[in-house]
């Protein structure tokens, strides 16, 4: 061990330097500490002592799956387990490819667990909280089965040969749709609710809006004036309208434009709105990314005799998208949170409206328990959003943004 370059200062010295350097500093420190301490105390007191969490406990399944047919709950449970398995499979394949390329060092399982915990702690805390609120053993079993499926499939993924990549990609693309179909067989998606609905709306809209947004971004830079005008018009139209107004419109005024017979169900309408709306924002983000790729990259591709499409797909887009991961994920997080607007504007019983609805149930009505349910919903959204944010930062690092 070598001695540290700068000697560690004692805690008192540190505090004096950073917190009590001048009279003004000292006053600020004391006042801020008191206010912060009071707020934290009140909040902790609420969460741990006075909060009546039985309202969440009793209605947990409503928060999670809404009015999904209680006899068919094996379907969402199976979907969750399959999602875990898929995640594990992808992680395994990625791991295999990276270790083949010599990009990662093998580490001991204990260390791997510690890495995973420090990476996913918000999600872990979230799931544990939900499990603590559960009143039966079943949720524990489902989460356990999901974890087992993930671990097993990760091992499988590591053992798969390179040429299995094609089938794996197909599987990853197809399975989610199969799972949605499977779940819709139990209860039609117009009856879905709770967190399931928020996740479904967000996930499907993200998957659909991303390619549309990329096409719009490319369209806005196209040589043909017509394509450029259409793309620009679309983007500016949708960016100029509040999302909630669009949701109200498809809910209330669609019959003026589309005969009832052809009018899609409300979940489909919501997904269409989220997709079209977010695509406009994704397009602007991607356009920024496209502009960040130096002209020389295109010229290098041209000089090699590559076609404009190949240059875009193989050279420009990968670099452009890599540069805008943070902004893209930010947009997707917004979308996830904005799914609550669909509840407000279209009457879905998603997470936020469930929080409101349960307070008027006979057992709890008139007891002012809205704080408990809102804090719970806030927590669930925070876990989801923060996990996405952290994973995007990790992806960014992995893809080496900022290293040219």
């Amino acid at each position: 061990m070598t001695a540290p370059a700068t000697p560690r200062r004692s805690a008192t010295a540190w505090a004096r330097h950073h917190l009590f350097r001048t009279v003004g500093d000292s006053v600020l420190t004391v006042v801020a500490t008191v206010i912060l301490g009071y707020v934290v105390y009140r909040f902790a007191n609420f969460v741990l002592v006075t909060g009546r969490w039985e309202i969440v406990r009793a209605n947990l399944s409503l928060f999670m799956v809404g009015l999904y047919d209680r006899d068919e709950l094996w379907r969402p449970a199976l979907a969750l387990i399959v999602a875990g398995a898929l995640g594990g499979l992808v992680a395994g394949v990625v791991h295999r490819r990276q270790s083949d390329a010599g990009a990662i060092d093998e580490v001991a399982p204990a260390e791997r667990l510690r890495d995973l915990a420090s990476r996913l702690w918000p999600a872990i805390i979230g799931v544990l909280t939900l499990l603590m609120l559960a009143q039966t053993i079943t949720p524990w079993l489902i989460v356990g089965a999901t974890l087992v499926a993930a671990v097993v499939m990760r091992l499988v993924g590591r053992l798969l040969p390179r040429r299995a990549l094609g089938p794996v990609v197909t599987l990853v693309l197809v399975t989610p749709f199969v799972m949605v179909w499977l779940m819709a067989q139990g209860t039609g998606w117009d009856e879905w609710g709770g967190l399931t609905l928020n996740l479904f709306l967000a996930a499907l809209s993200i998957v659909l809006c991303f390619p549309l947004g990329v096409l719009l971004a490319l369209g806005r830079r196209a040589k043909l004036p017509l394509i450029r005008a259409v793309s620009t018009g679309y983007i500016e139209l949708f960016r100029g309208v509040p999302l909630i107004v669009l949701l109200f419109m498809v809910n209330n005024t669609l019959q003026f434009f589309v005969p009832d017979r052809f009018a899609p169900s409300s979940v489909v309408r919501a997904i269409v709105v989220f997709t079209l709306f977010t695509a406009a924002y994704v397009a602007e983000i991607v356009r920024g990314g496209l502009q960040s790729v130096p002209r020389g990259q295109v010229e290098a591709g041209q000089a090699l005799g590559m076609s404009p499409v190949r240059i875009t797909v193989l050279i420009v887009l990968p670099q452009a998208l890599r540069n805008v991961i943070p902004a893209l994920v930010g947009q997707f997080i917004s979308l996830f949170k904005d799914t609550t607007l669909a509840g407000a504007a279209m009457g879905f019983l998603e997470l936020l409206r469930t929080a409101e609805a349960v307070t008027s149930f006979p057992d709890f009505s008139g007891q002012g328990l809205i704080a408990e349910t809102l804090v719970f919903v806030t927590f669930v959204f925070w876990v989801g959003s923060y996990t996405m944010s952290r994973e995007s930062q990790r992806l960014e690092k992995k893809l080496g943004v900022g290293t040219r």
Binding site: A300, A303, G305, M306, R310, L314, P318, T403
Partner: protein, 258 residues
């Protein structure tokens, strides 16, 4: 263009067979005329070095040959194919002409090997195994076989430029265009790139090199082209050029840099 210069510019060295022909080429950037009545022939296996002050149109001229810039008048013929507006024709010519840029322009998201094999695989439809073998052979040729799996950002400037040369060679071009290949390099890395280019010249590659490296011009060039203000001012062998230049503009330029 005077008749003497025209004669020098169109009298090719090398095998005597004409590989590239520019005939009365003009190029405008808005109102600014970047090229004025360029006439030049380059023979098969000939090495032509283009020198001149900055802004004289050297880069623009070679960038017109593979249509990175569009010329406004005149005719450009590469190995018997006349450059037209048809994108297929342009891509045809680009496949036959390799280009090395001042800023390397390697693809930062791909490994060195993938940088080299991308175009052969996607344009020439070479199977992956074959392309990889080709890539490794080329890396051997530019003397950095051990860097195949790295990313461009992890390499020195000289190494990056050698990868860029290998990437161009992977398309098996008939002509190589070099656009100031050593101008962005640290001094100690210039030689490794010039050596690679000399090897290429020795193997009989047809080359047009825009450069400020007079040593390279003297040693390797069959002919030296001097450009100023968008015109070809003088063309000659290195001996003629560096010992007894005839045009006052050339003499002035050489006196400034030598």
């Amino acid at each position: 263009m005077s008749e003497d210069v025209f004669a020098d510019a169109t009298q090719v060295a090398g095998t005597g067979e004409v590989m590239i022909e520019l005939e009365g080429v003009d190029k405008f950037f808005d109102d600014f005329q970047a090229l004025r009545d360029i006439n030049l022939r380059i023979g098969r296996q000939e090495v032509v070095v283009v020198i001149g002050p900055s802004g004289s149109g050297k880069s623009t001229m070679i960038r017109c040959i593979n249509r990175l810039e569009e010329h406004d008048a005149g005719r450009i013929v590469v190995d018997g194919t006349t450059l037209s507006d048809d994108i297929r024709n342009i891509q045809e010519i680009r496949r036959e002409t390799g280009m090395v840029f001042q800023q390397f322009n390697l693809f930062p998201h791909l490994t060195v090997l993938d940088n080299i094999t991308l175009a052969p695989r996607k344009v020439r439809k070479l199977p992956k195994a074959e392309a990889d073998q080709l890539g490794r052979d080329l890396l051997e040729q530019v003397k950095i076989p051990e860097q195949a799996e790295k990313f461009p950002g992890q390499l020195s400037g000289g190494q990056q430029q050698r990868v860029a040369i290998a990437r161009s060679l992977a398309m098996r071009p008939k002509v190589m265009l070099f656009d100031e290949p050593t101008s962005a390099l640290d001094p100690e890395m210039i030689n490794e790139v010039l050596e690679t280019m000399k090897d290429l010249a020795t193997e009989g590659m047809t080359m047009i090199v825009v450069t400020h490296e007079m040593g390279f011009a003297r040693e390797v060039a069959d002919r030296v082209v001097f450009m100023a203000d968008g015109q070809i001012v003088e063309v000659g062998t290195p001996e003629h050029f560096f010992t007894d230049p005839s045009e006052p503009r050339t003499q002035e330029f050489l006196s400034q840099i030598l």
